[in-house]
C-alpha cells in the first residue's frame, strides 16, 4: 500500500485507539470582550509528543498555550492534563513550564540564578539545586557562562538559558512560544535539531506555537493548523502537506496551484473535474466522495507538475499549454511560472539535480504542463 511521505520514527499514539491522551482540550472557548480568540476547540495531545500549533498571528494559538500555562482561563470548556482538570489551578501550581518568545530572562540574575529560580521555589535542597543547574548548563553547553548576566549573552545563548530554565524543573509538558523567532536563519536551523534531540533525550511532551510552517514541519510529530480560533486539521507534517483536508490548509501550507471546478463524471476510483475558467479537464483519484455536478476544488503542488516542450500523448486530460512567464531560480530548485491561454499562472517546480543542461527552458518558451492522476488533491471543503 502507498503511504504519504516518509516516516520519521515509529511513534504514532494517535493511531492507537487504546492510547490515552495526555493533554485534552474539550470544547474550549476563550473570549476577550466581543472577540473570540478560541472557538469551541477540542484537541488531544499524547505523552512524549512534539506537537505544533501553526497559524497566522491572531489565530488563537498563543491563547491556547497561555490557557495551558494558566495565564488565561477558558471562558467555557475544560482542559485536562494527565487526567486532571486544570480549571482554577494557578500558573505556579501547574506541572508545565513555558519558554517565552522574549525569553523573559530575569535581568538582575546570573545565568545560574535564572536556571535555579524555579528549583528554589520548589524548596529543593541547595546541593541538589547546584547539581541540577550544572547538569542543565552542560545540556545547553553554557558551562563557562554560568556567572554571566543575560545582557552579557548573545541571542542564541539567551535562548538556551531560557530553555535550560524551563527544562530544569522537569515539567510534564514544555510549552514553547515561537522558540526560534528571535534567531537568525542559520542558527534557527541548527537549533531546530537541538530542540528535537533534547525532546527525545528528556522524553518530555513539547507543545510549540509557531507561525513558521517549515519550523513546524521539521520539528513536530503532529501539526494543528489553526485559523480564527478553530483547528482546521491535526495531522502529521506529511499528511498536512500531501493530504490537506480543506482548501484553507492546502493553501496555507507550502505552495499550491488551486483549481475550482465541477465534477463532470465519476468512474470507479476516478473523478473528472471540469475547470471552465482554464478550459481544462482534470482527472484525479477519487480520494473523497462526490457526485456529478458538485462544485469541488483541486490542489496540486508545483513539484508534482511536469514541464516539457514536447506535447504529451494525451492532451485531453491533466494537460495545458502556455508560455513561460517567469523563472525563479533558487539554486537547489527552480520554480517556473507558466501562463495559460486563459491568463492563469501555474507554478511548476523542478529540482536542479544536474549542474548543466542542454537547451534549458527560457523566458517566452511555449511549454506543456501535465501531471498524473494521483499527483493532486481533490477537495470538497
Amino acid at each position: 500500500m502507498k503511504s504519504l511521505g516518509s516516516f520519521r520514527r515509529k511513534f504514532a499514539p494517535w493511531n492507537d485507539p487504546e492510547a490515552k491522551p495526555y493533554i485534552s482540550f474539550e470544547n474550549v472557548t476563550k473570549k476577550f470582550g466581543d472577540f473570540t480568540a478560541v472557538d469551541d476547540l477540542s484537541l488531544t495531545i499524547y505523552n512524549r509528543e512534539f506537537f505544533a500549533l501553526l497559524g497566522a498571528s491572531g489565530c488563537g494559538k498563543s491563547t491556547l498555550l497561555r490557557m495551558l500555562a494558566g495565564f488565561e482561563e477558558p471562558t467555557s470548556g475544560r482542559i485536562l492534563l494527565d487526567g486532571q482538570d486544570l480549571r482554577g489551578i494557578p500558573p505556579y501550581k501547574r506541572p508545565v513550564n513555558m519558554m517565552f518568545q522574549s525569553y523573559a530572562l530575569f535581568p538582575h540574575m546570573t545565568v545560574e540564578g535564572n536556571i535555579a529560580f524555579g528549583l528554589r521555589q520548589d524548596g529543593m535542597p541547595k546541593n541538589e539545586i547546584e547539581a541540577r543547574v550544572a547538569e542543565m548548563l552542560k545540556l545547553v553547553k553554557l558551562e563557562q557562562f554560568a556567572k554571566r548576566k543575560p545582557h552579557q549573552l548573545s541571542g542564541g545563548q539567551r535562548q538556551r538559558v531560557a530553555l535550560a530554565r524551563c527544562v530544569a524543573k522537569r515539567p510534564k509538558v514544555l510549552l514553547l512560544d515561537e522558540p526560534l523567532g528571535a534567531l537568525d536563519k542559520k542558527l534557527r536551523e541548527e537549533t531546530q535539531f537541538e530542540l528535537m534531540d533534547l525532546q527525545m533525550k528528556l522524553g518530555l511532551t513539547f507543545v510549540v506555537v509557531t507561525h513558521d510552517q517549515e519550523e513546524a514541519m521539521t520539528m513536530a510529530d503532529r501539526i494543528a493548523v489553526m485559523d480564527k480560533g478553530k483547528v482546521k486539521q491535526v495531522a502529521t507534517p506529511a499528511e498536512v502537506y500531501e493530504a490537506p483536508n480543506s482548501k484553507f490548509v492546502a493553501d496555507f501550507i507550502g505552495n499550491v496551484n488551486m483549481f475550482e471546478g465541477t465534477v463532470s463524471t465519476v468512474v470507479p476510483g476516478k473523478v473528472d473535474i471540469n475547470v471552465p475558467a482554464d478550459k481544462i479537464t482534470i482527472r484525479t483519484d477519487a480520494t473523497r466522495d462526490c457526485s456529478a455536478g458538485q462544485p469541488v476544488g483541486f490542489a496540486i503542488r508545483p513539484e508534482k507538475i511536469r514541464l516539457s516542450r514536447k506535447e504529451p500523448a494525451d492532451t485531453s486530460i491533466n494537460a495545458a499549454h502556455g508560455e513561460l512567464y517567469d523563472i525563479a531560480y533558487f539554486g537547489d530548485m527552480t520554480v517556473f511560472h507558466v501562463r495559460l491561454e486563459s491568463g492563469r499562472i501555474i507554478k511548476a517546480a523542478s529540482l536542479n539535480a544536474v549542474r548543466t543542461v542542454d537547451n534549458p527552458l527560457g523566458y517566452d518558451d511555449m511549454v506543456w504542463v501535465n501531471f498524473d492522476t494521483d499527483a493532486g488533491i481533490l477537495l470538497t471543503a
Binding site: A69, Y92, K93, N97, Q121, H151, S154
Partner: protein, 272 residues
C-alpha cells in the same frame, strides 16, 4: 558640525550661567565672611559654621527635617509604587483614565491650596499639629511624584518576566519581591530621592501643617531671615547645597558607569 566658539556663544553662556548661579555663589562666598554684615567682605573665616553648630534651634530644626524627610519619603515611596502598579496593571477597570489624571493633579496644585486644605482637615478631625501632621502632609504631596516616576518605568516593564516567575512556581508575592521589585528598583530609589529632596526643602506646606516643636529647617531659616540675615544662615544653606550637590553627583556618576558597563557587555556579547 561647527565647533568653533563665536563671541556671541561665549557671552550667552556666561550670562545664562551667571543668571543661574550668581546668587548661589554669593551665598556660599559670604558664608565664609569674617564680618557680620552679609554684603561687605572682611576676610575668610569659618566661625559662622561653628556658631551654627552651637545654635540649638538650628540643630533641632535640622533633625526634625531629616526625620520628616526619611519617614515621609519612605511611606510615600511605598504608597506611590503601589499606586503606580495598580494604574499600570489593571488597565480594564472603569474610570482608570480619571484616576490616572488625578495622580497628576497634585503635581500642579498650588502648594498654598494643598497646605491649607490639609490644615483644615487636621483641624476638622482634631489632630494636634506637630511633627506627625507635617510628615503626613509631606507624604501626601510627594506620593504622586513617586507614582509618576515609577509609573513611567512600569510602562516599559516586560510583563512576561512576571509570568515566567509564576510559571516557574513563584507565588504572586514572591514574584513581586524577587522579580518585579529588583527590576524596577532604580525607579523606586529615584522616586524616594525625589520625595526626600522635596520634603527637605518644602516651606509652604510645612508652615501650614506644623505645630509647636515641629519647626523644619526651611521654616527656621525663613523666620530667622525676617529678623535679619546673618552669615549663619548662609552657612546653613551652603551645607544644604553641598549635601544635595554630592547626592546628585554620586547618582549621575553611578548611572553613567552602569550605562558604560552595560554597553561594553553588550558589545562583548555580540561578538560571540
Amino acid at each position: 558640525m561647527n565647533t568653533t566658539w563665536s563671541r556671541f556663544n561665549i557671552v550667552s553662556l556666561v550670562i545664562g550661567f551667571a543668571f543661574l548661579y550668581l546668587p548661589i555663589v554669593l551665598l556660599v562666598v559670604f558664608s565664609f565672611n569674617e564680618s557680620r554684615l552679609v554684603t561687605v567682605w572682611a576676610g575668610f573665616s569659618t566661625k559662622w559654621y561653628v556658631s551654627l553648630f552651637n545654635n540649638k534651634s538650628f540643630i533641632d530644626a535640622a533633625w526634625v527635617t531629616i526625620r520628616v524627610g526619611l519617614i515621609s519619603a519612605t511611606v510615600a515611596t511605598i504608597l506611590g509604587t503601589l499606586g503606580a502598579l495598580a494604574l499600570t496593571r489593571y488597565t480594564r477597570f472603569r474610570g482608570r483614565m480619571l484616576f490616572s489624571a488625578m495622580i497628576y493633579a497634585p503635581l500642579v496644585m498650588p502648594e498654598v491650596i494643598t497646605g491649607l486644605s490639609l490644615l483644615l482637615l487636621f483641624v476638622a478631625i482634631g489632630f494636634d499639629r506637630g511633627i506627625w501632621t507635617v510628615t503626613l502632609a509631606h507624604i501626601t504631596f510627594t506620593m504622586c511624584f513617586v507614582a509618576v516616576v515609577v509609573q513611567s518605568r512600569l510602562v516599559t516593564f516586560d510583563r512576561s518576566l512576571e509570568e515566567a516567575a509564576m510559571d516557574l512556581g513563584a507565588t504572586p508575592v514572591t514574584t513581586f519581591f524577587k522579580v518585579t521589585l529588583p527590576v524596577i528598583l532604580p525607579a523606586v530609589v529615584s522616586g524616594w530621592m525625589l520625595a526626600f529632596t522635596l520634603s527637605l526643602d518644602d516651606l509652604v506646606i510645612s508652615s501650614f501643617t506644623s505645630g509647636p516643636g515641629a519647626t523644619t529647617l526651611p521654616m527656621r531659616i525663613y523666620s530667622q531671615v525676617r529678623l535679619g540675615v546673618t552669615p549663619e544662615i548662609n552657612a546653613a544653606c551652603t551645607i544644604l547645597i553641598a549635601i544635595v550637590a554630592v547626592g546628585v553627583v554620586i547618582a549621575s556618576v553611578a548611572n553613567k558607569r552602569r550605562e558604560v558597563q552595560k554597553a561594553r557587555d553588550e558589545q562583548a556579547a555580540a561578538r560571540h
